[in-house]
């Protein structure tokens, strides 16, 4: 039986408690509010808006709304009728008058190559059209590509308000105009290779960081403070240097005429005419990324190892375990939290790494992020870029989800 408990001034205890707690919660919220607003407006909203572009084609749809609507009744099996071609003619005419036909050309060109020149030429000749004659014939007269049904099919598809075709492209698949999904020709397949390479590099860099960071973190955790502080500064030094500067210095070190090759040649390990290719390939990407991401592995490991009492290892050896056995059964399991936190941190950073592969990676060392940048800056296919970015984001979230399932996010220690 839940009797009503009241405070000394006669209020219900539960009500009073809420009242008192409310002030505390408000204070807490106000403290977090500036950052929360900043994150929402500068981070969450822009990101989702950008990611929306991967399926959003509303602008294109608005340029050619009526054409799109009329085309819904056209099944695409034979050349479109006059209803379609006339509507397209009038809308294109409006586009030329308002000077957005260039955008239409670019967007349609993503659907099918050749559209740029096709639209441009047609736009120039539009004023010569006789509005009482057959439009299709006049289109074909301007450019014979209009006689190819695929261009009309592409026009229909290209004016959909939204579509998921960019996600197919992300994995080197395409949707044929008949609706079937096929892999693109082998020589054009690049994205899957890049995805696999990105995952390989991310896993590899994580592993290299782990191998390098584990002993140094252990040393840091057992050394007396005055030495460990010095060592910690050495580990953290990269944080205080610009990423660009560090990557550039790797270029100085790794290039064919660079410091490393010079040293190896002068020591006689490598012949002068067969200097090592350390840059513009995966090796360079690996070396530079490992160095740059190392602190993200050291810090969580160090913070976990710092809490492991040295007496545990002593206890294990006093009970008869060899130092190796004690390490394997006692010390190593106790560092799992640090290993997993460091690994997930390095992996997530590595999977989206951009500057370093761009500078030292060359053609053989670039990663998916470089491809995203290429589509953002050069091909200007933002839909494809954001589709790739969305896949990347989902991949990272899946990794987090798995981590939470297996280790538990509460066990994460970042130092």
């Amino acid at each position: 039986m839940a009797a009503e408990i009241r405070t000394s001034d006669g209020e219900l205890l539960s009500v009073k408690l809420k009242k008192v707690e409310r002030r505390r919660r408000t204070t807490a919220f106000l403290l977090a509010a500036p950052l929360l607003f900043f994150i929402v407006f500068a981070y969450v909203i822009p990101i989702f808006q950008m990611l929306g572009r991967s399926i959003d084609n509303a602008e294109m749809n608005s340029f050619l709304t009526e054409t799109h609507e009329v085309m819904q009744t056209w099944d695409g099996s034979e050349m479109p009728g006059e209803d379609v071609t006339s509507t397209f003619y009038y809308e294109l005419k409006t586009a030329v008058e308002n000077k957005y036909h260039g955008k239409i050309a670019t967007r349609l060109n993503y659907e099918k190559g050749g559209f740029t020149s096709l639209i441009k030429k047609t736009s120039r000749k539009l004023k010569n059209f006789d509005e009482n004659a057959n439009f299709l014939d006049q289109f074909i007269d301007v450019h014979k590509k209009w006689g190819d049904i695929e261009y009309w099919q592409a026009l229909k598809r290209g004016t959909d308000a939204y579509h998921f075709r960019k996600y197919l492209t992300t994995f080197d698949y395409e949707q044929k105009f008949d609706g079937s999904i096929e892999r693109i020709p082998e020589k054009l397949r690049i994205n899957v290779t890049l995805w696999l390479r990105t995952i390989f590099v991310a896993v590899g860099v994580t592993f290299c960081c782990f191998i390098l960071a584990y002993p140094i973190s252990h040393l840091l955790s057992v050394l007396p403070t005055r030495y460990s502080n010095l060592l910690m500064i050495c580990v953290l030094l990269p944080f205080w240097t610009s990423l660009l500067v560090r990557t550039s210095s790797w270029m100085v070190l790794l290039q064919k005429q660079g410091v490393l090759n010079d040293t190896l040649v002068s020591l006689g390990f490598v012949a002068d005419d067969s200097r090592l290719e350390l840059m513009y390939n995966m090796t360079g990407t690996f070396i530079a990324m490992t160095q740059i991401l190392l602190p993200f592995m050291v810090l969580p490991l160090y913070s976990v190892m710092k809490t492991i009492s040295p007496s545990l290892m002593r206890a294990a050896t006093s009970m008869g375990a060899t130092p190796f056995h004690a390490f394997r059964k006692i010390y190593f399991p106790l560092t799992y939290a640090g290993i997993s936190a460091g690994s997930i941190l390095v992996f997530v950073l590595a999977i989206g790494y951009y500057i370093t592969p761009a500078l030292v990676g060359g053609a053989k060392g670039i990663l998916i992020s470089n491809r995203i940048a290429y589509h953002m800056q050069q091909s200007l296919d933002w839909s494809l870029a954001t589709a790739m970015a969305t896949v990347l984001l989902i991949a990272v979230l899946v990794v987090y989800w798995l981590y939470n399932k297996i280790v538990g996010i509460d066990n994460m220690r970042l130092g």
Binding site: S309, R314, A316, T317, S318, M319, G320, T322, L334
Partner: protein, 362 residues
């Protein structure tokens, strides 16, 4: 029983230095008998823990040799010594259950499964923790963790168990009951125990013998009562139990008795322990409970004091008096004799036998 070795563990001229400038342990010679409960007692920094760590194998002697069961062990790594150890903060493996913690030393020794279970059950019963097998260390109270640590050090039947201030983190009541428990475990198993503590009460309660450490040296090695009753130097006298001291110069010395003039000019008849000739400076040590109030019997030393402070302690009352210029002279008055009317400022006649008052080094 007569087969028990008196030098089961032997330290021979052991020195230890960490920094190459200062010796933490100086020329240590120490024999530990089989089945004995030996306590290394001393203030922090006295070298007692270092001594224990050298025996466990976690520190290497800078000089000298340690023998365990007749074998020199300086070059034997800790995991081959077969010595059980209980650590200050228990050092339970936090990711393993109580059962797995106890199974660890047995699995290392490749004991087969059924025997592991049997031994763990037996050991847990001994420390009254049956039913706690599946708990994790973090789910146990301090006292329970302590028992697990003890059980883990005993489960593989080592001949020697080392304990490094194992009760230091427990509260007073629990510490006292654990002292008795450890003592009983020791008695029932007959295992040799080397125990390190800075708590003299703990040492006196549990040990067969106590080695008092100071400044890297063993000051005195003897049984608890001897240590308390007949300290051989002023460090031991002041470190163990309560102690009233006077400083003075030896005036006359004969066998079993010396006349010492205190700094205040009075003469005390004392038992010469660490003085041998007249003119020597000496510190006289006298236990509070050896002082009689209003003495009737014939005593060599009789003086009048003035009460400075009265402190009630439950079972007894402590009276601080001024005696022969010593303002910190403490008396213990049992509360059964509370018919004694004590007031600050009163005069009080005191007396003690020359035998109980020991003239030690200055």
């Amino acid at each position: 029983m007569n087969s028990k070795k008196s030098d089961f563990v032997k330290f021979e001229q052991v020195d230890k230095s960490y920094d190459g400038k200062e010796l933490v342990v100086k020329g240590l010679d120490l024999d530990i008998a089989e089945g004995e409960f030996l306590t290394l007692l001393g203030p922090s920094g006295s070298g007692k823990t270092t001594t224990l760590m050298m025996l466990a194998g976690f520190e290497t002697p800078t000089n000298g040799e340690i023998y365990f069961d007749g074998r020199p062990i300086n070059n034997i790594p800790p995991h081959k010594r077969g010595i059980g150890m209980v650590f200050q903060n228990y050092a339970l493996f936090p990711h393993l259950s109580v059962y797995e913690n106890l199974a660890f030393p047995l699995k290392v020794r490749k004991v087969d499964k059924s025997e592991i279970e049997e031994r763990i059950n037996k050991t847990l019963k001994m420390v009254s923790l049956t039913g706690f097998e599946n708990r994790m260390p973090a789910q146990l109270s301090g006292g329970q963790q302590q028992r697990v640590a003890v059980a883990r050090a005993l489960v593989f039947d080592p001949k020697l168990v080392l304990m490094d201030e194992p009760l230091g983190a427990l509260d007073k009541n629990l510490r006292e009951s654990m002292q008795y428990e450890l003592k009983h475990i020791h008695e029932s198993l007959g295992v040799t125990v080397v125990y390190v503590t800075h708590d003299q009460g703990e040492a006196l309660t549990m040990s067969n013998r106590i080695a008092v450490f100071n400044d890297g040296k063993v000051q005195q090695l003897s049984g608890p009562n001897e240590l308390y009753e007949t300290p051989v130097n002023s460090f031991v006298a002041s470190f163990i139990g309560e102690n009233n001291t006077f400083t003075g110069t030896v005036k006359e010395i004969a066998s079993g008795s010396a006349k010492i003039e205190t700094d205040s000019g009075e003469t005390i008849v004392a038992n010469p322990i660490a003085v041998s000739s007249s003119g020597e400076k000496s510190r006289i040590s006298l236990r509070p409970e050896r002082v009689s109030i209003d003495p009737n019997e014939q005593l060599e030393n009789k003086f009048t004091s003035e009460i400075r402070e009265i402190i009630y302690h439950g079972d007894h009352t402590r009276v601080r008096v001024n005696l022969l210029g010593n303002d910190d002279f403490i008396l213990k008055v049992p509360n059964a004799s509370s018919d004694l009317k004590l007031n600050v400022g009163d005069k009080l006649d005191l007396g003690w036998s020359s035998h109980d008052c020991r003239a030690l080094d200055y």
